[in-house]
Amino acid sequence: MAASDAKEEAALARDLIAGKPGAFDRFVEVFRSKIFHYAYMMCGQREDAEEVAQDTLLKVFSNFGQLREPERVKPWVFRIARNECLMRRRKSVFAPAQELSLDDFLPHQDQDDGRRLEIADWSALPDDQALRAELKDIVHAAIEKLPEIYRAIILLRDIEELSTEEAAEVLDISLEAVKTRLHRARLAVRQKLDEYMAGARAGGRR
C-alpha cells in the first residue's frame, strides 16, 4: 500500500511540474490533509495546523523547482512542514522532552522461570469494526502523549509510511536515531493498547 501511494505521489509531482490540468487541485487535496494531520498531532492546535498546511503548500509551490527527484516529493514536503511546525512551537502543549527507556516497556517477568509474562492476550478479542475504531482512538491518544521526538517519528514512519531514510532526512537525524526512537514510540503505543486489552478482558467487555 505504501509503495503504490509513493508511486502515485511521484506521478502527481510529475504532472504538477508538467502543468497538467487538474494536477494542482489533486496535489493540494492529497497533501493538505496529510500536512494538516501531521501538524495537528505535532502542534496540538487546529488553527496552527491549518496555517502550517497553507504555509507549507505555499512554500512547496514557490520552490517546486528545487525538487530534483519527483520520487522524493513526500519527504521534501514533510521537511518543509516540519520546519513550519517548529516555527509555531508552543512549549506548553508539548509533553516533556524526556527520553523513553527500553526497560520501561519490558514486560514484567516472573522471577523463577520468566515464563509468566504480563502480556494481555490480544488474539482473544474480535477484530471487528467497533473495536478497531476504539483501538484507533487509543492509538491517537497514545501518540499525542508521546514526547515530541518520538511523536514525530511514529507519525512519519507508521502513519505516513515514509522509509527510515526519508524520515531521517525530514527530521535531520541519523538512521540509527530513527530506528531507536521508532521502536520506543511503538512500544509506548503498544503498552497503552495492552492496558486496554487487559482491561477489556478483565471487565468481560466482549
Binding site: Y40, A49, P107, R115, W122, R132, D158, L182, R186, D194
Partner: protein
C-alpha cells in the same frame, strides 16, 4: 543460542530489535538468531504479534482530524505561486 530454552537476557536482546525485525532492517544472520529464539519462546512471540498489530493499527490511523475546506482566498494564493513556478519553468 539454544532454541526452546527461555533465556531472560536473550529476551531482552530480542525485545530491543523487534521493530527492526518487523521492518526487515536486520541482516539475515540476526533475523535467523531472532527466529531461533522465537521458536522456543512463546511470550516473545506474543509480544511480537502485539507489536505487529500496533504497527498495523498505526497504518490505519492516517485518517484523523481533517482541515476545514480550503477557502477561495487560500486557493488563489497557492495558485499564484504555482503559476509563477510554471512561468519560471517556461522562461528558463
Amino acid at each position: 543460542m539454544e532454541a526452546g530454552k527461555h533465556d531472560k537476557a536473550k529476551c531482552r536482546d530480542v525485545f530491543a530489535l523487534l521493530s527492526e525485525y518487523l521492518d526487515r532492517e536486520l541482516t539475515p544472520e540476526t533475523c535467523a538468531e531472532i527466529e531461533a529464539h522465537l521458536a522456543g519462546c512463546p511470550p516473545c512471540i506474543d509480544f511480537l504479534n502485539s507489536l505487529k498489530r500496533t504497527v498495523r493499527l498505526c497504518h490505519t490511523c492516517e485518517e484523523g482530524a481533517k482541515p476545514r475546506p480550503l477557502t477561495a482566498e487560500q486557493r488563489d494564493k497557492l495558485m499564484s505561486a504555482y503559476r509563477a513556478f510554471l512561468a519560471a519553468g517556461r522562461g528558463a
